[in-house]
């Protein structure tokens, strides 16, 4: 329930930010954090998982993000592509990097994403995640 509530709040923030595209990078971030809470809300309904953190297998080869991504792939394949896109682009938006510490975006992040890109993050990808995990 808490995850669902937070997903809606973050989605609302993303939508608000879309009205004034000054902070496009935060649209990407808010959209991802809405998506991740929609995913956790859906996982909470599975008694064998409940939450990514608590079901993370000991010795799992990868991070929590890798594990959650795998769960989405396995359980909600229709949501996977959009979820993965929001995950990767929110990292670029937050850290200005894609792969390695010490390597940063050479351009301003608000120039890296177009207005239409961030609209798609909310209106297409976040919606795909919401539908893909079974909330439509």
């Amino acid at each position: 329930m808490a995850h669902w509530h937070q997903a809606k709040r973050n989605q609302s923030l993303a939508t608000q930010l879309l009205k004034d595209l000054t902070y496009k990078e935060w649209v990407a971030v808010a959209a991802f954090y809405s998506a991740v809470h929609y995913v956790e809300a859906a996982l909470a309904m599975d008694p064998t998982i409940l939450h990514t953190d608590t079901s993370y297998p000991k010795g799992y080869p990868g991070s929590y993000h890798d594990y959650r991504q795998e769960l989405v792939f396995r359980l909600f394949p229709r949501a996977w592509k959009s979820y993965n896109k929001l995950l990767s682009q929110s990292k670029t938006a937050r850290y200005l990097t894609t792969v390695q510490r010490g390597q940063f975006l050479a351009t301003a992040v608000e120039d890296y994403f177009s207005d239409q890109d961030v609209r798609n993050f909310v209106n297409h990808d976040l919606r795909n995640v919401w539908q893909g995990v079974g909330f439509s």
Binding site: K81, K85, T98, Q100, G102, Q103, F104, Q116
Partner: protein, 227 residues
């Protein structure tokens, strides 16, 4: 000229144009090499084959890699290997060439990670924006760094990249892997690649590359900041 009829039957009964059939052949006919196709041109000699096999073997790749290597080095051409090839079966030559030779331990079924590497190259190289592909290990996962030519975010390209990744994960989900897409954010693409990475594809050369990576100027540490 001798001709191995049983092998020929096995090959000709397969749909050799699909990747799936490659897997089948690798697992069922350990000592069979073949490569697809194209129109005839210069011949591939036994020396070519032996040189290719030795090179590939020295780099730790199985028969699948050998096939890929040879098909890249000589993507078309008759194979002139006396003991096997019978060019009278001309109707099949547009689809494949095959030979049998040198039963050795390294002709056995390729290891899954090598297959994934080659499959990754084969699929991602179809996207013209993909410039090069590197691989390394990250958190006990096989990580692929796919360097693309776009300087700004390209949503359509990202969709294509993720669709390709989805297909790879569907086919090779048993191998822990992660895929990172690196647009051209910096002056030099190589700067974003950790030094311990291995280059497996370079578009400028249009070949699958195996071997030591060109020196990198980057710091060795890699990974996303912890969120």
């Amino acid at each position: 000229m001798t001709h191995d009829t049983s092998q020929y039957q096995l090959l000709s009964n397969s749909n050799l144009e699909t990747e799936e059939s490659v897997e089948t052949l690798c697992s069922t006919t350990e000592h069979t090499f073949w490569y697809s196709t194209g129109s005839s041109a210069s011949p591939l000699t036994i020396n070519d084959i032996q040189r290719g096999l030795a090179m590939w073997h020295s780099r730790g790749y199985g028969s699948r890699g050998i096939w890929k290597a040879l098909s890249n080095e000589r993507s078309s051409g008759f194979i002139t290997l006396d003991e096997v090839i019978d060019f009278s079966h001309a109707d099949h030559l547009s689809r494949f060439k095959m030979w049998q030779t040198l039963p050795c331990e390294w002709m056995s079924k390729p290891d899954p990670e090598s297959v994934l590497e080659l499959e990754c190259v084969q699929r991602f190289k179809k996207l013209p924006q993909v410039q090069s592909i590197y691989t390394n290990a990250y958190m006990r996962r096989k990580q692929f760094l796919i360097l693309t030519s776009n300087e700004k975010y390209d949503d359509q390209l990202m969709d294509q990249l993720l669709s390709t990744e989805f297909d790879l994960r569907t086919a090779y989900g048993q191998i822990p892997a992660r895929f990172v897409y690196v647009p051209r954010l910096f002056e030099s693409l190589n700067e974003v690649v950790p030094s311990e990475s291995k280059l497996i594809y370079e578009r400028d050369l249009d070949v699958i590359i195996h071997g030591p990576l060109a020196p990198s100027q980057t710091q060795p540490e890699l990974g996303y900041p912890v969120t």
